[in-house]
């Protein structure tokens, strides 16, 4: 059983995003982190590896700075690291990203793939289902936990009516929502071991993927529209006035 977890480095959710010259200024991002849903995917992948054995490879497609995130994954228990070096992910379309990642998974020999349901930068959610299709694997999204019962893998997923426990067979892809699991933190030994772990670094061409012509091109980034300043009231006595405004000015109640 080979397990792969697909990770993306994104601006930390607490980081401010600034726009300059019609583009998000990545150099102004104060902190880069593993995308939050990917953290839950990694935690669940580690638990599956611990319960059933198998090697866990952490894979990312991104610029050189993403190497730190792979080291973080090694510090909590990823066995090997695979970095597909792409300096500008924004220059790739969804098909190209999925093709690279599916090729990376094949390169690693994994047949069970964990990823976040979407990354905290584009919030798209195309990667899991797309990679699953390219691998000819089944796909379960909105997953909160995964377990092995010997013959198949079971996953808890969100459904319109609550939750469902579903079973699938490998090859399969699990796209994670925020899970119920507590995320583990690396210990000193893990951090020391991770420093010695060397990632395999490949380019898209090494995987036979052509990234020359993207079918999506970014025209501009802009800051979100600013709201005009609102009205501020002091004290609970003002609640009546606000309810009146919601009814008469805003017409929302």
């Amino acid at each position: 059983m080979g397990i792969a977890v697909l990770l993306k480095q994104v601006p930390d959710t607490t980081a401010k995003i600034s726009v300059s010259g019609g583009r998000v200024d990545e150099s102004a991002v104060s902190k880069w982190s593993m995308s939050p849903y990917d953290e839950y995917a990694l935690e669940s992948a580690l638990q599956l590896k611990e319960s059933g054995g198998g090697d866990l490879v952490a894979i990312t497609c991104g610029p050189a700075r993403a190497a730190k995130m792979l080291t973080d994954a090694a510090a909590v228990g990823a066995d090997s690291l695979l970095h597909i070096l792409v300096e500008d992910l924004n220059a790739l379309d969804s098909t190209q990203v999925q093709t690279i990642l599916a090729a990376a998974v094949a390169h690693s020999g994994s047949d069970i793939v964990f990823c976040g349901k979407q990354a905290a930068d584009t919030n798209a959610g195309s990667t899991g289902p797309g990679v699953a299709h390219l691998m000819d694997a089944s796909c379960v999204t909105m997953v909160s936990e995964v377990a092995s019962d010997g013959s198949s893998l079971t996953a808890m997923r969100a459904s319109p009516n609550g939750n469902e426990r579903v079973a699938v067979s490998a090859p399969c892809v699990f796209a994670f929502d925020k899970g119920i699991n507590e995320l583990r933190r690396p210990n000193v030994r893990g951090i020391m071991m991770a420093k010695k772990k060397v990632a395999e670094v490949l380019g898209p061409a090494d995987l036979g993927v052509d990234v020359s012509a993207s079918s999506v091109s970014i025209v501009s980034h802009t800051p979100p529209p600013q709201k005009p300043p609102g009205q501020k009231f002091e004290g609970a006595d003002s609640v009546a006035a606000v309810v009146g405004k919601l009814r008469d000015e805003a017409n929302v109640i």
Partner: protein, 306 residues
Amino acid sequence: MDVTVIAETSGDGLHPVTAQLVGAAASIGGTPTVLCAGGTGAAEAASISGVAKVISVVGDCFGTFDGAAWAEALNSVTGGDVIIAAASPSGREIAATMAAIRGIPIVQDATDLAPGISVTRPIYSGKAIETSTITTPCAITLRANAFDAAGKGGSAEVSTVNQSADVAVAVREAIAKASERLDVAEADIIISGGRGMGGPANFSHLNEIADMIGAAVGASRAAVDTWEEIPHGMQVGQTGKTVTPSLYIAVGISGAIQHLAGMRTSKYIVAINKDPDAPIFSVADYGIVATWEAALPALKEELGKL
């Protein structure tokens, strides 16, 4: 422009966003074909103005949700330059898989479209807006409540196609929601509590007010992470749900950047916080500087008079 719309369903009928998908298709010059997975909502889809035709796709695979199987079945029924679906969890998965089957690009969660095709979407959970151009054929999912809905009065022809695909996901157990409360992703009015509520038991005050005005109850990440009684399904913000209700009432929420990212596009925002400098007031249309203990009883009383 040959546009295919994947109908979004809710229970046994159509979700209101489906008419918005049709409206958006018209904005890029399309008179869409609407696909109804499992036949759900086909008659209703035919009555949406501007729909060219409705294809009711029926097959065994539609008994269980398996996005890959649904996408395969739907994909074989239609061609088209542009596939449009809702940016719901199932809509995103089906559209992404159909795009992968066809080898075409997809852009998710668009909030504006223009001929060309120019696509606008929030990135970094709304901390910036991206406009890009995408070549056809392509797939695009659309955020609910961002596009004008097409009207009623259509009378499109409905045809039925039998088309199934192999389902690889077997449901072993269904676990019903603990509460029957409205989901924040579906609600037109949301009242959310933060850590300022002091404890999970105090959310009962929010529930009472929600019941009076048909609202859903949400929570900040701080509240969800602090109290296990507050489930993640209630979380509004960057690692929770992004919402655009008509009215969002934030109670005891300071307004961390990741919370604002998830609710700042609400039409009207009311903030109740005892700290006059709380960042939540920067996005509030109506800010009330007060403790929740003082403000919520007054709010209950005033809403009771409506």
